[in-house]
């Protein structure tokens, strides 16, 4: 089976449990951590590439622990026409996917770095960031 990308979101209490360890030990899954982020409220977001025979059981285990599991089918895009390059998103974006290019002061978006946290969707005052499913 080819590896699949999934997004895991967990609450503050869950982010302290050794979930990945059990995925490997009990379900024999091959885990590749693509992106990981814990926000200031200590809630976690993890993007994994997972493969193995017991893939579905592994996901069931995650859900049973209270982890929200979503396939990574979402993609963040920027509406270039709406974006004013103000920069309001740049100090918020946790992965550096949105950044200010200096000295020309143009905001650039590097989709490869984006961890789909969707923070920019809410904080962009001009609503130039969009999610595509």
């Amino acid at each position: 089976m080819s590896p699949k990308k999934i997004v895991l979101r967990f609450t503050k209490t869950l982010s302290e449990k050794p979930i990945i360890y059990y995925l490997v030990k009990d379900y024999d899954l091959v885990v590749n951590i693509v992106k990981a982020n814990i926000n200031p409220h200590k809630e976690g977001m993890l993007i994994l590439e997972l493969s193995g025979e017991k893939y579905e059981q592994g996901l069931d285990y995650l859900r049973s622990q209270g982890v929200t599991v979503q396939p990574l089918t979402q993609e963040i895009i920027r509406n270039e026409e709406r974006c004013s390059s103000c920069g309001a998103c740049t100090a918020i974006c946790p992965s550096g996917a949105l950044y200010m290019e200096r000295p020309n002061m143009e905001v650039k978006f590097d989709g490869d770095k984006c961890i789909v946290c969707q923070l920019c969707l809410k904080t962009c005052p001009l609503r130039a960031m969009e999610v595509r499913f």
């Binding site: 390059s85 103000c86 309001a88 740049t90 100090a91 918020i92 200096r102 002061m105 809410k122 005052p125």
Partner: protein
Amino acid sequence: MSIERTYAEINSKIKSGKVVVVTAEELVTMVKDKGITAAAKEVDVVTTGTFGPMCSSGVFLNFGHSAPRMKIQKAWLNKVPAYGGIAAADVFLGATEMPEDDPLNSSYPGEFRYGGGHVIEDLVARKPIKYKAIAYGTDCYPRKEIETEITLDDINEAILMNPRNAYQNYNCAVNLSSRTIYTYMGLLKPNLGNAHYSTAGQLSPLLKDPDFRTIGVGTRIFLGGGIGYVVWNGTQHFPDRLYDKNGKYLGPSGGTLSVLGDLKQMNPQWLRGTSFLGYGATLTVGIGVPIPVLNEEIIRYAAVPDEELYAPIMDYSDAYPNRKPCDLGFVSYAELKSGKITVNGKEIPTASMSSYKKAREVAGILKQWIQKGDFLLSQPAQLLPNADDGIKAKVLKG
């Protein structure tokens, strides 16, 4: 010999196609290379620009009379209420107004996805707008309700009238508390997680004419992609000069403009509905002001670079909301634009709420208009009060 120019001389140069116009940004470089005196001899007009959220914005709309006639008491455009307490067929729609069924901040932090500023953007983009109004009915205006669809072209007048725009200078906002806060300066992360500012610095109109020597009632400007006018000082016009602890001059602050123009000739590219998470909706406005180089002193002020213009650093978790003094010092626009500053010994990332890139475009468009002879400078009927007039902000007791 020092240079002296009149508005009439500059305008005749514009008409003959011989005018020399530079943007405030180009002037900064020019003065670094050639010095003030040479620049003053060469340049007739300096253009400035800014593109940022300006809450005190709105539009007066006059609808054609319906049959039967109706005296609008309450009106809604795309569900956003407009103020009907003026003449029968007129309303005022404010940029920060929200639909009555919006959850506002009760689903904290509220998203404020569509408000008055968005209606203004949709109007100027010629999108159809759902219009609803109610009235109590009179002998001369018997109709009591109407529900229809309008576009900007279906109504008589649409006057963009912004009582307070183009703040001369603004705070650099930080958050000293341990929780995330949502403000009109954006999302501020806890414990000095980020710093947000909101002017175009060396391109910003009122930073370049700090003492209002050229800007006044009747100054013709770039407004929302069209031509507009300064009609008065803005509300909360408290011009002041900033000094550090050692008495060093750090630039002006406190001035504001009241501006007006015909919405029908504007462009949605320069009037954008804007949403601030946890704060509200507003309008982002593009404004460009030409500064006539009447003498050397005017160009000296217009040439001040980002390194010599400062913003006060303000804590938005406690000091700002509670009107307490804040002693975090000042930071130059050059530092702010570098992407990081140091506050209380901590290095923090900076970001702007207003767009420097778009400010540059505004100043560039205004420059082209003047060069092509499409835009003459107007001599103000009256200059605006400056820092020497000592206007002070009042505090509301209660």
